[in-house]
Symmetry: C2
Subunit: 477 residues, 2 copies
Amino acid sequence: MFDYKINKNIDKKLYLQVYESIKKDILTRKIVANTKLPPIRKIASDLKLNPSTIVKAYNLLEEEKLVYKKLGSGSYVAYLDDEMNDSEDYNDLKINERLNSGQINIENNINFASATPSANLFPVEDFKSVLIKVLDRDGGDAFTYQQTQGYYPLRKCISEKLKEDCIATNPEKIQIVSGAQQAIDLISRILLNEKDTVVVEEPTYSGAIASFNNRNTNIKSFPIQKDGIDLSEFEKFLNKNNIKLFYTMPTFQNPTGILWSEEKKQKLLELSYKYDFYILEDDCLSELYYDKIKLKSLKSMDKNGKIIYIKSYSKIFMPGLRLGFIILPEDLFNPFVSFKYSSDISSPGLNQRAFEMYLKEGYWDKHIEKMRVLYKKRFEKMYNKIKEIKEFEIFEVPMGGLYFWIKINDNFENLFLKASKRGVSILPGKVFSPEGNIKNFYRLSFADADEQKIEKGMNIIKSIIQDDKNLDLYPIL
Amino acid sequence: MFDYKINKNIDKKLYLQVYESIKKDILTRKIVANTKLPPIRKIASDLKLNPSTIVKAYNLLEEEKLVYKKLGSGSYVAYLDDEMNDSEDYNDLKINERLNSGQINIENNINFASATPSANLFPVEDFKSVLIKVLDRDGGDAFTYQQTQGYYPLRKCISEKLKEDCIATNPEKIQIVSGAQQAIDLISRILLNEKDTVVVEEPTYSGAIASFNNRNTNIKSFPIQKDGIDLSEFEKFLNKNNIKLFYTMPTFQNPTGILWSEEKKQKLLELSYKYDFYILEDDCLSELYYDKIKLKSLKSMDKNGKIIYIKSYSKIFMPGLRLGFIILPEDLFNPFVSFKYSSDISSPGLNQRAFEMYLKEGYWDKHIEKMRVLYKKRFEKMYNKIKEIKEFEIFEVPMGGLYFWIKINDNFENLFLKASKRGVSILPGKVFSPEGNIKNFYRLSFADADEQKIEKGMNIIKSIIQDDKNLDLYPIL
């Protein structure tokens, strides 16, 4: 008992390591209720740690009611809620642990958790045909290293397509990456150092939070409103703090689905010029509007080279290709190429070559058009089902994208786990929060669920909520 | 003139930015000989830098004889060597700059620089057939996200193949990566922090140096001998210093091609247990022996979980696939998966699936057998040609791998540039040195040159060396 191995070499806070070891043992009943935890000094000396580290771990356990303190006597393992079944609880713990490290297990029949398209929507036959054409055309060259910057014809093709979005660029300014996550991670490594401040929308994309946390930055978040963040609050903050980077998804923001208003976008750009910080614009969904609306990227509006523009193809095309690109301000370009080189030399060549042909031969436009029609139907289906649940409040009805951001009241904090047990995956709000402190919000995605599954899954969710309500409690008289 | 843009946000030393800006202007003749450089205080105040930063930049320029000092008057641009032709010199500068950031331009007809196989040796037809089979079998699933840890059947297949190499593992302990470079880079991020000490062989792989440098570590190197490094010297160092990691390529070391002796491998392992550090074993060539010799990896000899084992398929198969794997000690596994997730979510799925089928259906073994025969012939050809050049000294005749490590005397420091101008690429020793201070060594690779090209290229190198010798200089009387 209390035989914990703490690894001082890994980049994880020691008190968290101690906390997690003990927590696991409590939840798996390896140590039972009312067991006294070892005195802080003892465990600190055994593990060769500072006593304050143990204090922090014990406090965390107490906060979660896994441990209680007796004045002058020490800390004891608490009784766990009787409702909890050992193995189920352990499973919940594992689910939560995985969520925290960005992993999710989609064994469930109905997946409202992922924001990536269903595999059956992928244009496999078309892509296969371009793969074969590329192999017949390029032979072994398709399997050599690409330039670190990326396959030139692909960059050329992208820069031409960007004209449609009013983004003026050229192949020399484009860097191919293995998905948006890689771009965010490399930008973090180039720009951010310990204690630098990076500002994000809240809620925001968890992968970005992970990369900023890896750099030990201060993450300051501003709540998202229906048209962006509150920029006068932001400017007050800028008056007192230097920031290096602002991370935003202005078009169909993840997870809220909102669009920044044009006024706020313009104002945000002006702030970046005035207070000299970069804006990291993450665009992964702008093609997926349901009605023809005018969408303007920050990049297309920028006059002073403050926008770092990332485009991912994971959410609108095929995530397993791991392809995206980044357009960088001139002064960041060489450092980026050099970090891309040391992180994986270059992105796989065959995928780049096939994707170039896919774009050039017009498959892409055809595919996206089809997706728009299909997702609009799913959107409408889910929208109608959500409206049936009066406990749900939609943050803002999205005009495109793949998900709804739903508010629900306090009583349904465990909806995520309960739905999971009934075969429906949804994502709890805390996943999208830098501090993990968004409660009572869920992201419901229809990326991987057809209309039938939306019908079925939403009915299950509805019945969970109804059941909970029916469980009326009466005072004991 | 002197209108330099210095970027304080990027992770490159400021004095190097100043130095490089001025150097480029001198070499491109934007500022001509005898021009006085601005006073240190002036340029420091213009650029809002500390004067000592400018002093460092000027000193570097002086060291390279691009600038000379007049006592009490300041620094002036020097005359450049009359032999130098403007554009050629600028090209050399660009070549050197690219080398420093890991890039090389292989426009040359004859490539002895790359250690990756010729594209015409890739088994394109076989791989195409497995790609098509995978797409027909898996459809859209081939393009979804893989698990961050990697496609399970591939991990299973790898763990079974590793039994042949006496490595006992299982699919749960294997993590798929996008090439060895990614594995080295992620390990650096997990294990190494500023001022930590990492020990390397000298010469060593430049990509590893780049990753260690990105972490601002102290890199300590020990000269490679014909059977490994001097372990008693290493132990003396360990007595006085804590080290986190030892990076080694014990089998056909890059660039020397040597094999560590079994005695030294055993002793190295014991040191890692005694002084508690990890060993990063980078294995990219062990399949490529010319005569059946018994090769034992450190991983197969390790009893205490101190080996981090990386296997790349870039040098023996097809680099553009970007595939490799890593086996980690248990305590490093979760942090690695979590960093892999935040760096690029997962490696592309289709490539993993196709490679699994390629391995399982026996194509791999057939291909490697063919490569062994073919490379042995190239090896013999180059060996014979090297022996014709008496100015060349082979460090150690390799028993496998793809290159020779050649010593040559002082007079041929520019062989790299001269050969390049005659259409032959070779790699100068400095590329393989943490401090860039290996002179008079070259790596000659036959990975991308067939026997005809080896004949032709080696004859060109020979004639360069002969010509230089014929240019006898006599004292002026």
